[in-house]
C-alpha cells in the first residue's frame, strides 16, 4: 500500500511539473535562448547515435528476415516488412530508448547536481522559477526534437536495410524501393509521429522530476540518474503498447 501511495504521489508531482512548465511558457520572461540551446543539445547532439542505431537495426532486420522470406519465395516484400516495423515500432521505441539513455540521464544528473550544490535554491532566491528556466526548455525540446530524430532513424533504417538487401542478397534496388513504398501508409506515419511526442514528454518529465527531487549529495545524483533512465525506458515500452493499440483503433489499422 505504501509503495502504491508513493507511486500515486509521484504521478501527481510529475503531472504538476508538466502543467507548471507548460503554463510558464506563456509568461514573461521567455527563455527562448535556453530552449534553442536544449534543442541543439538534444536534437543535433543525439543525431549520430540515433542514425547509427537506425541504420544497423534496418540492416539486421533484412539480414535475419531475407532468408526466411526467400524460403517462402516472398522475398520481394522484404522492404515492406522493414518499413512497417521500423516506422510503427522500432524507430520510435529505439530512438526513445537511446535518447533516454543519453539525454534523460544528462538532464537528471545536471539538475541533481544543481540541487545538491544549492544552485536551484540560488536560482529561486534570485527570482527565477526553475520550472520555467530549466524544466520547460528541456521538456519542449524533447517533445519537439524526438519526432525528427525518429524520422531520421526510420530513413536510415530503410537505407541500412536496402544496403544489406542489395549488397548481401543481391536484391534488385528498384524492387526494394517499390516494396518499401507499398509498406508505408499515412496511418503508419501519423502513428510514427504521435508516439515520439508522447515519449518525449515521458522522458523529459521523469528525468526533470528525478533530477529536481535529488537528495543526499553526490551519491543521490547517481541514484536519481539511474532511476530516471530505468523508469523512462520502462514507461516508454509500456506506453508503446497502449499507444499502438490506441492508434490502431483510432486510425483503423488492420493487423495483416
Amino acid at each position: 500500500m505504501n509503495s502504491f501511495k508513493k507511486f500515486i504521489f509521484q504521478l501527481q508531482e510529475i503531472t504538476n511539473l508538466i502543467i507548471s512548465a507548460f503554463l510558464g511558457v506563456f509568461k514573461k520572461p521567455h527563455y527562448l535562448v535556453d530552449l534553442i540551446r536544449q534543442m541543439d543539445i538534444i536534437g543535433v547532439g543525439s543525431l549520430p547515435i540515433v542514425l547509427l542505431t537506425g541504420f544497423f537495426t534496418g540492416g539486421v532486420l533484412i539480414l535475419q528476415t531475407y532468408p526466411t522470406f526467400q524460403y517462402y519465395s516472398i522475398q520481394s516484400t522484404v522492404g515492406r516488412t522493414v518499413a512497417t516495423s521500423l516506422i510503427r515500432e522500432l524507430g520510435p521505441v529505439l530512438t526513445a530508448l537511446m535518447v533516454s539513455g543519453r539525454i534523460g540521464s544528462a538532464i537528471s544528473a545536471e539538475l541533481g547536481s544543481m540541487v545538491v550544490s544549492q544552485q536551484i535554491d540560488a536560482m529561486r532566491a534570485l527570482g527565477t522559477d526553475p520550472m520555467r528556466k530549466l524544466v520547460a526548455p528541456r521538456l519542449l525540446a524533447l517533445i519537439f526534437m524526438l519526432p525528427f530524430l525518429t524520422v531520421a532513424a526510420d530513413i536510415f533504417g530503410i537505407i541500412g536495410g536496402g544496403l544489406v538487401a542489395t549488397g548481401i542478397f543481391n536484391m534488385d534496388y528498384n524492387a526494394y524501393i517499390t516494396s518499401v513504398r507499398s509498406g508505408i501508409s499515412t496511418a503508419d506515419i501519423i502513428g510514427g509521429i504521435v508516439k515520439p511526442l508522447v515519449f518525449g514528454l515521458i522522458i523529459g518529465s521523469i528525468s526533470c522530476y528525478k533530477g529536481l527531487t535529488t537528495e543526499g549529495g553526490t551519491v543521490g545524483v547517481g541514484r536519481s540518474t539511474t532511476n530516471s533512465v530505468v523508469l523512462a525506458s520502462i514507461w516508454v515500452i509500456i506506453f508503446d503498447f497502449f499507444l499502438s493499440r490506441a492508434i490502431n483503433t483510432v486510425l483503423d489499422i488492420k493487423y495483416i
Binding site: 520572461p29 544552485q119 540560488a122 534570485l126 527570482g127 527565477t128
Partner: protein, 301 residues
Amino acid sequence: MLPQTDAETVSTDENLEQELEPTDLEDAVDEPERVTPAIEFRDVHLSFDDKKVLDNVSFIVRRGETKIILGRSGGGKSTTIRLILGLLKPDSGQILIDGEDITGYSEVKMMDVRKKIGMVFQEGALFDSLSVYDNVAYRLHEQGKPKEEVEHEVQRMLQFVDLEDAIDKMPAELSGGMLRRVGIARALVGDPSIVLFDEPTAGLDPPTARTICELAIKLRDIQDVSSIFVTHELKNIEYLSSEFAVVDENGQVVFEMEGEKMCLINTEIVMLKQGKIIFTGKNEEFFGSDDPYIKKFVRGR
C-alpha cells in the same frame, strides 16, 4: 488552510495600516514606513522529521538594521535564512517581509518578494555553467536590462569585491574565498533592500573578512539596507557592532568607532541554541553575559 487565507488578505493596504496603529505612534507620524519591520518572525516552528530545528522563534529586523545571528553549527541559522526567502515553509508561525505575511505565499507570489532580497549562500552556490560575469549579471539579465547597464553594474560590483580580474573565469577556476566574493557581488546586484549573509567570511583571510564587514556596514549606514549576518567569528561582531560608516566632506566613505561621535549603532545580536533564541541585545550585553552557554561560545571552552 488558515494561513493561506491570511496571506491573501495581508498584502492589502488596509491591513498594513491596522498593523501600524498600536505601536510607536510618534515615529509613525514622521516616517510611517519605518515602523513596519523589514523582517519579522512570529512564533516560528520548524521540524525536519522528528528533529526540532526552530522552536518558537520570534524576532524583528528593523529598517536599516543589521541582526547578527549566532549559534553553534547545526543550530538552525541557515534554516532561518532559507525561511525568509521562502525556500522552506515553517510548520507554524508567521514570517513577514516589509509587513507582508509571506507564510502562505505560493512560489509564484514569492518571486516578487525575492526581488528585493539579496542572499549570500554559505557555500557560494554559483551557477557552475555560467562565467563569473554571467553569474553576477544573472538578476539583470533576467530583468532584461540593456547590455551597457548590465556591464557597468557588473564591473562596479566586481570592483567592490576586488575581483575584476576574474570576470571571464568559470567558477571551477576560482578559490573558495573568490567564490564567496562572487556570491556577494551577485547578491548585491540590483540594490536589494534586504540582504542575507550566511557566514560570508568563513574561510577568508582577516583583511578580506574585514572588507566584507565594511561592506555590510556601508550597506547598513549609507544605503539603509536591512540585513541578517550569520557568523561564527567574534571579530566580525566587533566590527559590525562598534563601527559605523559616514560620508566625509570629500565624498569618501570613512569608518568611525562608536563613541567618537554620538551614535547608536544599528546592530543587534541574536543567539540561537538548539532552535530557541536565548539572547537578543547589543554587543556589550552579549560579551558581558553571565549565561554559561554564551560564555562558552565567546571563549571557546
